[in-house]
């Protein structure tokens, strides 16, 4: 591995670990949110960037985990480990089911079916008052109870909890995308017919990628629910699915770290700009348009292309 990459890999967790010492609680909270959405964006990158499956319904796996956190911690138990198992279980089960339905489609049909399935869930959450709180959602979710005398209502403590999972996810996914399975996904993105003729069961790979992406999205959804203490149908909706897609494209699809960066940028901008003006949606829209017109390969994608071009000379 190249030296800058190694330095970044070791340095980043250290920097992130030291950050709370230098920041106010508000900013610590902000970085926590950036990490949560970075996890979400990386999970979509597995699907979109690496496997070439453009999902417009990825919020479904995120949202179902968030709702599970809400329902379990409000009605059953606040023990973190049990909630974790339930939330991840829900997102894995959902993606296992949705995957069976969606994976047979490709291209624009895949876009449409993932959209339809996610909207289906959104519709259920929106109209099911008794269980899911309808369009009011589920408020009052307390921070997790890990069974240790540490309060995670404290911004810094929660930050470190999220940081541990963030580093874990980045580490595991970094190996995953370089594994035989991971490069097979890239092959599928490039040419399904070639992969089939080489001997790969392409459907199965796509299906597993879908489930894995859903599981990781579930991790993000879980922490999102804990972070804000509230879950609503918007956590399942198309606006969120489109936003996480933007994060991936902005950062650079297929680079893993790019989407994490893209997520951080969008979260940061949203928080900063929303504090100054009400016109954040307009600016977000302008970002969508700009990325497509000017930087379709994303930040990291464009950067890598420039590196390669100067190396070729």
């Amino acid at each position: 591995m190249r030296l800058p990459a190694i330095a970044a890999a070791l340095g980043l967790p250290v920097v992130l670990a030291l950050l709370p010492l230098a920041l106010s609680n508000y900013h610590v909270d902000l970085v926590t949110q950036m990490m949560i959405y970075a996890i979400f964006a990386m999970s979509l990158d597995i699907l979109l960037g690496y496997t070439g499956l453009p999902s417009l319904g990825h919020a479904a796996s995120f949202g179902i985990s968030a709702y599970t956190v809400g329902l379990v911690s409000l009605k059953v138990t606040s023990v973190f480990w049990l909630v974790l198992v339930a939330a991840l279980g829900a997102s894995v089960a959902l993606s296992a089911l949705l995957g069976l339905l969606a994976i047979r489609s490709r291209g624009v049909y895949f876009l449409m079916i993932t959209l339809a399935l996610a909207q289906l869930l959104w519709g259920i959450a929106f109209q099911w008052r008794s269980l899911a709180g309808g369009d009011d959602g589920l408020p009052g979710i307390h921070r997790p109870n890990l069974g240790i005398p540490v309060s995670f209502a404290d911004a810094v403590n929660f930050y470190y909890l999220v940081l541990v999972f963030f580093v874990l996810v980045v580490g595991v996914l970094s190996v995953f995308v370089r594994s035989p399975f991971g490069i097979a996904l890239k092959g599928i993105r490039e040419s399904e017919t070639r992969m089939m003729s080489l001997g790969y069961n392409v459907w199965f790979y796509k299906y597993l990628a879908f489930v894995i992406a859903g599981a990781v999205a579930g991790v993000a959804g879980m922490f999102a629910a804990y972070h804000i203490g509230y879950v609503s149908p918007a956590d399942l909706g198309i606006l969120l699915s489109a936003k996480v897609m933007l994060m991936v494209i902005l950062g650079g699809a297929g680079t893993l770290i790019g989407p994490a960066l893209g997520a951080g940028i969008i979260v940061l901008l949203e928080n900063v700009i929303s504090g100054q003006t009400e016109r954040w949606p307009f600016i977000l829209g302008a970002i969508y348009v700009s990325v497509v017109l000017f930087a379709p390969q994303g930040i990291l994608g464009t950067f890598k292309a420039k590196l390669r071009r100067s190396a070729d000379r």
Partner: protein, 284 residues
């Protein structure tokens, strides 16, 4: 009995709105490979512009004309300078048109505020008609009539004119169409413009009974997508039949099992995508 008839009537008028929206959306994708998620924005903008014109001139007709004119210009600019470059690149189109959706939506919020508004009906349609035991607002009759008229006009155009034939052929096989030496770029722009005009029209005439509010763009877009998928991409007949189905379904669902309307809509869309991806009347 009366209940059912009234529901059917309401469903039909809503179906006409959906048809006006879905027709443009469907043909645009079928002919040009452009998935325009900002189509709902044309509806929203049409409604708001119509509202402003009516408030200032009291003329419903003028409202319709101005709304259509403005939205058509916007639509053509979007198509010629932005969307054209991303033919068949659905991912780019999704993000690009979403961007426009946000920008237009927020600009509208800024200009007209966040309160839901209702357009005043033209005075000639403020009464109601009696059909036997049922009373229906004459405005809804107007909407249904107008919708059917437009549907008929579009159908005649598509079936009986040379340009219409080219469009039908283009939906089936666009490479061949290009090969026929027709000025495809001009045709595409015109078709796109017509689609935008219909959406704006829907916004204005829907204003009096559906109203206009922030978020209406996404709501109507999603319903429009459901209609297009169920009816079949690129098919006018599909858009019409799909609109009827969804318009009626939406109305009956709201009346009978209001907690399941959304589930029903998207469930139907998902089902069609799984079992018959090209929809009821789409190309194979």
């Amino acid at each position: 009995m009366t209940f059912w008839l009234v529901q059917i009537f309401n469903g039909l008028s809503f179906a006409m709105l959906l048809f006006l929206l879905a027709a443009g959306l469907s043909i645009t994708y079928g002919l040009m490979g452009i998935l325009n998620l900002a189509h709902g924005s044309y509806y929203l903008l049409g409604a708001y512009l119509g509202l402003t014109v009516i408030k200032n001139t009291n003329s419903f007709l003028l409202a319709i004309l101005c709304a259509i004119a403005a939205v058509v210009v916007l639509g053509i600019v979007m198509q010629r300078f932005f969307l054209r470059r991303f033919y068949k690149n659905e991912l780019a189109q999704v993000l690009l048109t979403f961007g426009f959706l946000f920008m237009i939506g927020d600009a509208s919020l800024w200009m007209w505020g966040g309160n839901p508004q209702v357009l005043p009906k033209p005075s000639v349609f403020e009464g109601s008609y009696r059909f036997g035991s049922i009373v229906v607002p004459s405005y809804r009759v107007f909407v249904i009539g107008l919708g059917l008229l437009v549907a008929l006009g579009l159908w005649l155009f598509q079936e009986k004119t040379a340009v219409g034939a080219v469009i039908r052929a283009g939906v089936d096989d666009e490479e061949m169409t290009r090969g026929l030496g027709i000025n495809t770029p001009l045709l595409f722009t015109v078709v796109f413009g017509v689609g935008a005009a219909l959406a704006a029209l829907a916004g204005v005439i829907g204003g009096p009974f559906v109203g206009v509010y922030p978020g209406a763009d996404i709501e109507i877009l999603l319903l429009g997508l459901v209609v297009v998928i169920i009816g079949g991409v690129g098919s006018l007949k599909g858009a019409f039949v799909g609109s009827l189905l969804i318009g009626l379904l939406d109305n009956f669902a709201k009346a009978l099992f209001p907690e399941f309307t959304l589930f029903t809509m998207f469930g139907a869309m998902a089902l069609v995508l799984l079992l018959r991806p090209t929809g009821l009347f789409g190309r194979k």
